[in-house]
């Protein structure tokens, strides 16, 4: 009993100094800012990552895996020739590691000779015109960026290649910015040389606000002259959203034909 009392007294003294202040290991670093001179690779692009804070180290992977302190260490701008997902994470001896910053780099595709839009782009978000989705320039997270081609209904166009061309896949890049009522497509239909080929349905549901660049890659693996792509917006915003029941915007930046 006496021992218990002694331990209690010592523990009480140990606890006496109350510290209300936040501790470093409780707080995470901000994810690094990752930029590329272009996210579509023709020959090579330069990739930079940064978190301007003393004693921070950045590590990265080029295969989509989560970086750790055994991954490649970032020490300066990278010359990148290979497409893929580049993931960066910040580490510091005293702070919790950051979340992951991901940047997807695309291989430059085959450029169609012409594109014929069957539906009209929004007058407010016309991008740089009919060729916005074929100009090899990706949009940013800012929906006002001129690389975004905005629709509030169905976007439908046919692209024409000069000669019969083997297309392995099509990548359609789009913006998700739920606060700004910009959601992924609800459906994509593809027609090859005028014939219906396939429909892609989108099942991704967001339960909270999110802003990101995303894409859908559609396998084709056919030789063809024309492709018609019909992309439908989300027609009803979800229950949790302030605009529930109203239609969403659809913002696309690039159609890449590989």
């Amino acid at each position: 009993m006496r021992l218990r009392v002694l331990i209690f007294v010592i523990l009480s003294i140990g606890c006496a100094k109350k510290n209300d202040y936040l501790q470093e290991r409780e707080i995470a670093l901000v994810q690094p800012i990752v930029k590329a001179t272009s996210t579509i690779i023709d020959s090579s692009v330069v990739l930079t990552a940064n978190l301007r804070m003393k004693d921070v180290d950045l590590f990265y992977t080029d295969d989509g895996t989560i970086p750790n302190e055994n991954s490649l260490k970032y020490s300066g701008p990278l010359s990148i020739k290979k497409e893929g997902v580049y993931s960066f994470k910040a580490f510091h001896a005293d702070w919790k590691p950051s979340a992951i910053s991901k940047l997807k780099l695309y291989k430059k595709g085959k450029i169609p000779e012409t594109i014929n839009w069957e539906t009209s782009v929004s007058a407010t978000y016309p991008g740089i015109g009919d060729l916005t989705v074929l100009n090899n320039k990706k949009g940013s997270l800012d929906f006002r960026d001129k690389q975004w081609f905005g629709y509030d209904s169905i976007a439908k166009a046919t692209v024409y290649f000069k000669e019969k061309t083997l297309i392995d896949n099509i990548t359609i890049g789009y913006l998700v910015d739920t606060k700004s009522w910009i959601f992924p497509p609800s459906e994509v239909k593809v027609y090859l040389n005028g014939e219906f080929f396939l429909t892609v349905d989108f099942k991704e549901l967001y339960e909270d606000n999110i802003a990101k660049l995303d894409d859908v890659e559609i396998p084709i693996n056919r030789k063809l002259n024309t492709i018609t792509i019909e992309v439908k917006n989300t027609t009803q915003l979800p229950e949790w959203h302030p605009g529930k029941g109203f239609k969403a915007w659809l913002f696309m930046d690039e159609w890449i034909f590989n």
């Binding site: 995470a28 978190l51 301007r52």
Partner: protein
């Protein structure tokens, strides 16, 4: 007891047996480090527990602004209509609360008249400015400035902030409305209107905050934030544009002058991936940024400030700062999970 403080105390208890007293030179009591944020002369420890109250009894919604009154008490304005005003002492102890009729409570300014404190509350949902005593009695209200001819109805007027000069003139920033700055004399009579929506030098995108700057007693002026433009603009008292001070990347809310420095809550970092990416920004008497608690160290290259952004995930959406007579900073936040203010203790 919160889960976090329970864990902290448990770990101390485990170490306590060995640590006190004979082993204290061999073992550190607590190997954790207190967070210290900020740069140069303005660095702070962070207290997230300050001012926490029972949300069932004294809830907050957005914590919009704070001031310290002449008695040294910290006064918080929230748009929670169960208690729009919460009064604390500096230790964070609750003193009193009042106010149930300010759904758009946004701006809070302290006025001292003949030794008595008054408050000016801007309410963008009521489209009014309300002067009250410190215990909540309404002295007068200012309605939308119809006589300017710039407003077709009161709903266009969504004031966010006021400031009061030494002579008692009142300036109102219509930061969520038509972006005008409206000048009244101390009787509440309209004197002038300037600013307005636009990207010109003398215009604003989100004229969110305003303050009377008499640090140069011979040349008092007005400092007004253009939050979306990441700029602080200076005007003469009669509404002529003087200069813009760029703060790249920082959505500054209102300027708060304390001694010779200007303090700002930064709502968010312009280009951050996360929306909740705010921090605090401090300028010296030359209007140079000297410290950014929670963000990148300020760095000037060829007299241009490098873009600022959040570096550690402490703040969500800081909306105002209040600096007390001990140089500590209280940070009230918008859209941050109905959390109470954060206290930064100067080190």
């Amino acid at each position: 007891m919160s889960r976090r403080s329970f864990l902290k105390k448990s770990s101390l208890a485990t170490l306590g047996l060995l640590a006190y007293p004979a082993y204290s030179s061999a073992f550190e009591l607590n190997k954790n480090k207190d967070v210290i944020i900020g740069h140069n002369t303005h660095r702070y420890k962070v207290n997230l527990n300050w001012g926490n109250l029972d949300p069932l009894k004294t809830p907050v919604n957005d914590c919009h602004e704070m001031i310290q009154d002449s008695k040294g008490r910290i006064v918080l304005l929230t748009n929670e209509t169960k208690n729009n005003i919460i009064v604390y002492d500096k230790s964070g102890k609750f003193i009193e609360s009042w106010g149930t009729e300010y759904p758009g409570a946004h701006g809070l300014t302290l006025i001292k008249e003949n030794g008595t404190d008054y408050l000016l509350i801007t309410d963008y949902e009521r489209h009014q400015i309300i002067k009250t005593t410190l215990d909540g009695k309404v002295v007068f209200t200012i309605d939308f400035p119809e006589q300017t001819g710039l407003y077709s109805n009161k709903k266009e007027f969504k004031p966010t902030e006021t400031t009061v000069t030494k002579t008692g003139d009142i300036y109102v920033a219509d930061g969520y409305g038509n972006q005008h700055i409206i000048h009244y004399n101390n009787k509440g009579e309209l004197i002038n209107v300037f600013g307005g929506h636009g990207e010109g030098d003398d215009q604003f995108l989100n004229a969110h905050g305003i303050c009377y700057d008499d640090r140069d007693a011979n040349n008092p002026s007005l400092l007004i934030t253009a939050r979306e433009m990441n700029q602080l603009k200076r005007f003469t008292l009669d509404g002529n544009f003087i200069e813009s001070i760029n703060v790249p990347g920082a959505l500054i809310c209102r300027p708060v002058i304390h001694k010779k420095d200007i303090y700002f809550a930064v709502l968010r970092s312009k280009n951050a991936i996360d929306f909740d990416s705010g921090f605090v920004l401090i300028m010296n008497d030359k209007n140079e940024v000297i410290s950014c608690p929670g963000a990148t160290a300020p760095n000037y290259k060829n007299n241009n400030l490098e873009e600022l952004y959040q570096t550690v995930r402490i703040f969500q959406h800081p909306h105002d700062v209040c600096i007390d007579d001990d140089e500590n900073v209280y940070v009230s936040q918008w859209n941050s999970g109905k959390t109470y203010p954060i206290k930064l203790t100067r080190v």
